[in-house]
Subunit: 162 residues, 2 copies
DNA sequence: CTCCATATGTTATTCTATAACAGTTATGCG
DNA sequence: CGCATAACTGTTATAGAATAACATATGGAG
């Protein structure tokens, strides 16, 4: 559980930009960017890692923004539905989207050492999977692509002499 | 929750073959294919669909093979670790592998209508994702690829006139 | 103002998963 | 054989993830 993206950068910048993008998107689409929703996105952006719903809920509770699970889940549902965050199925956790607005099929690189998560692009509907689906008569609407492995930092720690 | 593979076939056959393959693999690798493990694989093969750990546990309990969650989870862990079954992260459920022995990177087609799951091949480590990982210095060890959509049957039901 | 949609608050429950420890069986080795 | 050890099972307890159901508030649209 550490920085992220696997490359150091200014978190404040990406947080500020992402919040601004979310504000703009909500204004444009008449979406209700309420305090709870805003705060949850801030938490995800600030944590800059995959966070469990209950971890987020703890903070909301401390801040008087809601004490029960549905409060957190509703906000997370909103963020996911609007592309501001993604769910990492493998971790049962959520992470802020690092490039919203861009239409994308997200793929994730999950480090099994430090649980850091990087978001990448992938179009699984094309390529082998798409072909297999078509052959089976299956219509792909959405895809979960999550690679588990080791990030540069953890690889370096594990095998310093390589 | 229905048949599977999206194509009708003789379940008895695939069940018998898969059990035989598991027996052989365990014998060859000195793995302990105990009654609980055997029974859980049978259940997965017989159900021929993604099954929750607690659904399996219910049956084990009825049959006097174990009443507590760890019993089911341990057996499932064994089956997954040895390639006899896979976990469907999206459903928090487990499914028997339809072609064990073959080394493979499984990908799944999950129907959101009936929850049927078909197993396909995919090599996400190649292609776009592999390139992105390499660029990030990330070493992929394993990947979860799950496509959500509609199977032929559910597509037909939903849009009979298409 | 009233109705309706949207969002929040709360209770309760279900499902998923694992930690921790106790007992039991199987196996290998001296 | 007898013992040590590893592997497996049994059980208790708890943590974590998710949602159903219903109550309340709030903010427009007509």
């Amino acid at each position: 559980m550490d920085p992220l993206g696997f490359a150091p950068h200014d978190h404040r910048d990406c947080k500020r930009e992402a919040m601004a993008a979310a504000e703009a998107h909500c204004a444009r689409h008449r979406l209700n960017f309420t305090p709870v929703r805003r705060r949850v996105l801030e938490l995800l952006l600030g944590g800059h890692r995959a966070m469990g719903a209950y971890e987020i809920l703890d903070t909301l509770r401390d801040e008087g923004l809601g004490a029960q699970p549905p409060v957190a889940y509703r906000a997370l549902d909103f963020l996911v539905a609007n592309g501001f965050a993604h769910k990492i199925e493998r971790l049962n956790a959520f992470i802020a989207c690092t490039h919203p607005e861009t239409s994308h099929t997200p793929a994730f690189l999950i480090c099994r050492g430090c649980n850091a998560v990087a978001e990448a692009h992938a179009e699984p509907a094309r390529g082998m999977l798409g072909a297999a689906a078509e052959a089976a008569g299956f219509e792909i609407e959405q895809a979960v692509v999550e690679a588990i492995g080791r990030c540069p930092r953890c690889r370096a720690e594990a095998a310093p002499c390589r």
